[in-house]
């Protein structure tokens, strides 16, 4: 791919910036412990935790940087951070 001169880009490019590649620890959600309180969704700095059809929440791993705030804040300790191998 030819690079854009001067790293210039049309709007909306932050979607192309797949920040999931930064992740070292991956949040894994336990549906059994989830009370659907939505705190993780509210606190996620990347805004990448969304509700699924069954009203549970799931992170979008394409953009999740693995910061661990959701795991730290989950009142039911329903989110575990697991080291990933890439």
């Amino acid at each position: 791919m030819a690079l854009a001169i001067g790293c210039r880009a049309k709007p909306g490019k932050s979607r192309d910036n797949k920040t999931g590649s930064w992740r070292v620890f991956k949040p894994v959600f336990d549906k059994e412990k989830c009370t659907k309180c939505g705190l993780c969704m509210t606190l996620c700095p990347e805004g990448c935790i969304h509700q699924t059809d069954e009203e549970f929440v799931e992170p979008d791993y394409t953009y999740c940087k693995g910061c661990g705030i959701c795991a730290e804040e989950c009142p039911g300790e329903g989110i575990a951070m697991q080291q990933e191998e890439k």
Partner: protein, 384 residues
């Protein structure tokens, strides 16, 4: 037409002839007379440009970055502490590939405070991606502005440039300068055609974020553009010579170098003194010559290696010092000559406005011939 004029005013006049659309600068000694003259020209309707007054140099170059991205031909000037304050924006201007031209009236950097000349300020930004030209006299300083705009705005280059001329020694000196007419300059330098520009109807961002997967390659591309500039500089210099009879087609220039056993390598106004010293030494039968480096970025390694291949001793003069290492030019000349057996000695001279006289040049030639090691030349006794 030949005019006796102050260096700063000659540069300001050259800039006016280049028809910049936006100028932003902050006055600082010894650059002040340039931007003062340009402000007058704008106020007197002799130059149809937007002159943006700002609170400091960081803002000045930032305004230039915005204006250049919006598609204007842009100019600034600064020196020393002012250039140091622009450090961050310098890297951004090059990375965004904006063809800004900026004059540097070379001055020492503090501390200790000094308003006098050396070349530490621009040399300290040699890694920023800006092309760097060093002028020997005010004629050259003036002409290099026309050439710089032509080179920088070439779509195969798209990089900013610093035209460096020695503060006070050139900026405040009156000497004859052959000034081109507006018709001449218009014939040589076409209107700026931006490669891309900021446009609300078709939005675009400059200098976006690059992840580790791409940053490396962006730096590679800037380096490539700087290297491509070599051919563009030669071509622009040749065309200038065809039209106006002054030859800037070579990035380095030899003076009585062909049969020289001792070659001096230097940049800037000191080359004039060196030429006079060489003439005197030649009269005494000494085979001494000069290699003047006009373009320091991109660095003309091949041309330097070629030009110095017949010398027996090489003395590189640096009006700068990479503290804890050597003078910048000496290190790079040595790199250009890697594998050759010719001894290259580096002498740091004339920092903070210390005069370099013909007798100093002669003394340095004799040091180089004796093989004296790299050193600060002419130190006061109390520090020895």
């Amino acid at each position: 037409m030949l005019e006796i004029t102050e260096g700063s005013h000659a540069v300001a006049e050259a800039v006016r002839l280049c028809r910049p659309q936006v100028i932003s600068a902050y006055p600082i000694t010894p650059q002040t007379h340039i931007v003062e003259a340009l402000a007058d020209m704008v106020a007197n309707c002799q130059l149809d440009a937007e002159y943006i007054t700002v609170e400091n140099e960081l803002s000045a170059l930032s305004a230039c970055v915005g204006a250049s991205a919006a598609g204007s031909r842009v100019y600034s000037a600064t020196t020393s502490q002012g250039l140091a304050l622009m450090f961050e924006v310098c890297f951004n201007a090059a990375g965004m590939r904006l063809p800004i031209v900026m004059t540097i009236a070379n001055r020492a950097l503090g501390a200790p405070l000094s308003i006098w000349n050396d070349q530490q300020d621009s040399i300290s930004l040699r890694d920023s991606g800006w092309l760097q030209f060093y002028a020997e006299d005010n004629q050259e300083a003036t002409d290099l502005h026309f050439i710089a705009y032509k080179v920088c705005e070439d779509h195969s280059v798209l990089l900013p440039a610093m035209i460096c001329f020695d503060g006070f020694i050139l900026s405040h000196v009156y000497e004859p300068v052959d000034m081109l007419s507006q018709e001449d300059v218009d014939r040589y330098l076409p209107a700026f055609t931006p490669y891309q520009r900021l446009d609300a109807a078709d939005p675009i961002s400059f200098g976006m974020y690059a992840t580790p997967e791409y940053y490396h390659e962006f730096r590679y591309e800037i380096d490539n553009a700087a290297k491509r500039a070599k051919e563009v500089i030669k071509k622009a210099g040749k065309e200038f010579n065809t039209l106006f009879g002054r030859d800037y087609s070579a990035m380095v220039e030899g003076y009585r170098l062909d049969d020289a056993e001792t070659a001096i390598v230097a940049m800037g106004s000191i080359c004039g003194t060196i030429k006079d010293a060489i003439d005197e030494m030649r009269e005494e039968g000494m085979k001494v010559g000069l290699l003047k480096i006009r373009v320091f970025r991109p660095f003309p390694s091949e041309e330097i290696a070629q030009a110095l291949s017949r010398a027996k001793h090489i003395a590189v003069l640096d009006k700068n010092i990479s503290l804890g290492a050597k003078g910048a030019l000496a290190m790079e000349v040595r790199d250009a000559l890697y594998g050759s057996t010719i001894p290259v000695k580096g002498y740091v001279i004339g920092l903070g406005g210390r005069d370099v006289r013909k007798k100093d040049i002669k003394e340095i030639v004799s040091l180089a011939q004796k093989g004296a090691n790299d050193q600060f030349y002419g130190l006061r006794r109390e520090v020895l």
